[in-house]
Subunit: 607 residues, 2 copies
């Protein structure tokens, strides 16, 4: 038997760090995105009524924005009966279904702007949009049992099968932007229609065999076309496309017990976490192609680390975790959730980052002579909507299904992947994460419980019904035998720890990063007097670090002893050690740029 | 009286470091460039015979390539009677003059490709090409006394005066790429025609008042149009354009005793050397716009540091030195000459860098998915010709006139700016630079001699006719009283010194750079076993540095104690101090990439 994640439908978050965020998502975020999408003409566009010369010309990806909004709303509806969200979804679904062709085809851009160009341009997100519509249809059906949208999207899937498999009438064989593969797998599981599984497999198997890479190739491979998927061993190209593909590959491998496909997934996952991932869990080192680059290339100021890519990595990791209970996958999900994912949404739950840099030098915002070239420097402020606004509804849907990442079952053994206060059928968990490492788990009945020992944890204590407990650790999970009602108290030590990068990461040579438990910390200028670039810290300062509870971040800030380098008047001077003692205050990375745009650093100069 | 540089015509280099380079220039470089320019159709294009559809379509800047080649050849001819060079020059000049319009106009691109677009597009280098032709004409006249080319270019200058001043028939007021201003000042001094001085002044005064910046502006200002020149205080935009302008400004200020213009030059020069110059003397921090960016922004791998910009900074510094005897200007010339300029030509004198990076990570050459985006990473190998091949003949002409940077006279006081073995009227100098700091100067007659104390020099000894000597130091020059035949022996201590950057340079935080005398050193992978990025050095290692004479570099290599950081298997690990002792071998920066493309670092990790 393989482990199986417990679906978010069967998990309820309890008061705590993430419950607050999930509530804000349901009360604020989903509505805020709706208003912004409405203002920008996205919903109106779904009626296919736009005509040349009018404002709000439809973009090739607007279907996916609408679909992800419906999907996020559906997940919220699943847990909270919100009549407003239901009626808004129904309204949008009615529009889409009424404008869907008899053939099953529906695409805002192509039906409105280029009706004769259907399925001729691989770059233009048609199958990507279709995939998001399918995911939304499945989510809405599962939330409400209304099957109108689901049936409509099945007709669309049938039409796609006709064009890409039966008739081969399309001008390309595989989507330029992956997404439909994972969506078809969901559609298959929802409908039990094996043709959808076959179609997903078709798109996955055809990649790298028929279409050629449409982006000029140096060594990276924008749309993962460089090799047949089973031969791929490194994470390449556009990071969101890549991880949506890898997610579908892992899902298909699980579904079909396809070991060669799973081996490719394992190699790629390992390549990501050992060579191509920021300490925040962000992926995609460059603005150019929003892409993975090469091993150990992790620039901080120009980190792309797209919010959607963080989410896609969580998807991929979870599919891997459903294949094998290895803490490395859940560790990665934790790293992304608390850092590179959570940074993407503002503390007031209304504004978003598309890119999540690991350093901001405000002057760099005016470094280059043209705004085009300047694009490689991320925004220093979260925005409520972007012209390419893929991230906001993606963030909302992940927050809504967060419960689905906490528990799994392997046969009768419940597994605890994430320490988030929550309950499911026979388990209730109260967690102090991320502020302290105390977790209480109440289980009823099962013989064995597996608890993940986080990768960052060096020491922990565990008690069972008040007594010292012993268990067996396997692949990063502590297995405890329980009988009847059992209370497990586990406490993971959470000292302040400065981390360093592998020395092959040139950008982080001579730098260290402050962490505590799952949280990566950063310094912001607003909390510190000396310019951050002139401040040096030693890993020894962890021993005297002072923690201060900060309500607005719902987490501790950390103050450490530090050294300010004295500035000479000249640009170059003989190296010396002119340092003054100072302190440096650090905040959780996810909280950066919530007060003002200012200098920010994750990787600090090491003394 | 102001100091006046002694022209290269009156200075002869003696055996030593630079004489070898100057000989190679006359024997190898000038011929090698000729062949490459011929192969690529540049000389043929001067006949204006190219027709649409044929190979080698003329570029807008080809006139300047030809002109700079003639100019460099003229300087060589001035010192060595080389009949081949003379006949090649004559041949090219005959072509140009025969194809010059009766009006005086001559431009390969516009006469050939767009005859009706003359003086309509500021961006298209017309006046830049004209300026280079004028410089060449002056140089050839001074070398040979043949005035055909000079007269032709005077007619061209007259025509430009007509179009831009008298009739105002041009569509723009000032050149997009400065150059003609400094050329007109040379033409004025050669012909004594005050209208050329007035025209130079016209172009300088009009800048920033009439034309608007043609490159989209963020904060930098591509063609120095952001303010009238007298109000400019920072070095902005395209670094070559900028320094050609500043050179002309300083020249005009000297010529016209224009204090407000000289004040602007001083402010700009200070801004460059205190905030915007690499330790190699390279300028222009970015590929985007080949431009200055912002204060303290000096990225190493993507340094633009164009060879032409290094040369232009030498021009600017010399004009400043002719206004005031302050060692800061000669120090800058020395820094550029031995490092960022000399790196631009290969040791075999045939191949060139356009950009001169301060670090090479070979993997970065394949970092981005498209070669367009990849452009910000410099080549890792010198090339014999580029499509935009402005640098090679510029390098050649500077090597040919190197003698002009060594001496000056202030009233009767000879000044020694550069320690290069050479002689002029009444001075002979034998210098050990850059390998040792011993200099012997023999002077005859004058009362006082001024010798620059290099900015890097902490201690020196000086003897006059074998006895300890005392002098007065003013603005970095040591003034010694001499009578009759005097031998001055001055020895500048040249220890190995590790330098650090101003802490505001984020890119160099936690890094140091090895120097010795005027030379900046770098590490190349070929001389070292551990990957350079994993090696750390302390400034203390300077005390035990081992110098080894290396014939191919004509200079010492330096070996220092160092520490290799042990690589963990993981991407991130708790910071620790796992170092192994090792050594690091360093070569003069100018010699990098002469053996193979490999990892290179100027700024080393500091332990």
């Amino acid at each position: 038997m393989k482990p199986q994640s417990i679906d978010f439908k069967n998990v309820t978050l309890l008061d705590g760090f993430w419950r607050t965020r999930q509530s804000d998502n349901a009360a604020i975020t989903i509505y805020s995105i709706y208003e912004k999408f409405k203002e920008t003409g996205r919903f109106e566009a779904a009626k296919l009524g736009w005509r040349k010369g009018e404002a709000n010309e439809p973009h090739i990806f607007w279907d996916s924005d609408i679909a992800k909004w419906i999907e996020a709303a559906s997940y919220i509806i699943q847990k909270n009966n919100d009549p407003t969200l239901i009626s808004r979804c129904d309204e949008l679904i009615d529009i889409i279904v009424s404008k869907q062709e008899d053939s099953g085809y529906y695409n805002i851009y192509f039906q409105t702007c280029e009706p004769h160009a259907r399925f001729t341009r691989r770059t233009d997100h048609e199958l990507y949009c279709a995939g998001h519509l399918m995911e939304a249809a499945v989510a809405y059906y599962e939330a409400t049992n209304k099957d109108k949208f689901l049936k409509a999207m099945c007709r669309y899937a049938d039409y796609i099968e006709q064009a890409f498999v039966t008739d081969k009438s399309s001008s390309f064989q595989t989507p330029g932007h992956e997404e439909i593969e994972l969506a078809l797998l969901k559609l298959y599981r929802c409908t039990n229609e094996p043709r959808y599984l076959a179609l997903a497999k078709h798109f996955i198997d055809a990649r790298g065999t028929s279409d050629t890479d449409f982006y000029e190739t140096v060594t990276t491979h924008y749309a993962q076309d460089h090799l047949p998927v089973r031969e791929q061993t490194t994470a390449e190209g556009h990071a969101v496309r890549a991880c949506y593909l890898y997610t579908a590959m892992a899902d298909l491998a699980n579904e079909c017990k396809d070991d060669s496909l799973m081996d490719a997934c394992k190699a790629i996952f390992q390549n990501i976490i050992e060579k191509r991932m920021y300490i925040t869990g962000g992926i995609g080192s460059t603005y150019y192609g929003e892409a993975f680059t090469i091993d150990y290339d992790l620039p901080n100021e120009t980190a792309y680390a797209e919010s959607c890519a963080a989410i896609a990595l969580i998807f991929f990791a979870q599919r891997m975790l459903d294949a094998q209970t290895d803490a490395v996958y859940a560790d990665t999900i934790e790293r992304v959730l608390y850092n590179g994912f959570l940074s993407s949404i503002s503390l007031d739950a209304k504004a978003f980052f598309y890119k999540n840099p690991l350093a901001i030098v405000p002057e760099f915002a005016h470094r280059y002579p043209s705004s085009k070239d300047q694009g490689c420097f991320p925004e220093t402020k979260r925005l409520e909507v972007f012209s390419c606004s893929c991230c906001p509804p993606n963030i909302s849907r992940l927050l809504a299904i967060l419960g689905g990442y906490i528990f799994a079952k392997n046969d009768d053994t419940p597994l605890i992947h994430q320490y988030i206060s929550s309950k499911t059928d026979d388990i209730e968990m109260i967690s102090g994460f991320p502020n302290d490492g105390s977790v209480t788990v109440r289980v009823n009945g099962p013989k064995t419980v597996g608890l993940r020992i986080p990768g960052w944890c060096i020491r922990y204590t565990v008690r069972q019904n008040g007594c010292d407990a012993n268990g067996i650790v396997q692949n990063g999970y502590l297995y405890l035998s329980c009988s009847g009602e059992t209370t497990i108290d586990i406490c993971f030590d959470m000292p302040v720890v400065f981390m360093e990068s592998n020395p092959n990461v040139t950008q982080n040579a001579g730098k260290i990063c402050c962490t505590r438990g799952p949280l990566v910390y950063c310094a912001e200028q607003i909390d510190n007097t000396a310019p951050l670039r002139t401040v040096y810290v030693s890993e020894e300062s962890a021993h005297t670090a002072v923690l201060t509870k900060n309500e607005s971040f719902s987490a501790y800030t950390i103050t450490v002893d530090a050294f300010k380098k004295e500035a000479a008047d000249t640009l170059y001077a003989p190296a010396g050690s002119r340092f003054h003692k100072t302190t440096l205050t650090l905040i959780p990375y996810y909280g950066f740029a919530n007060r003002q745009a200012c200098e920010m650093m994750v990787w600090l100069n090491r003394k």
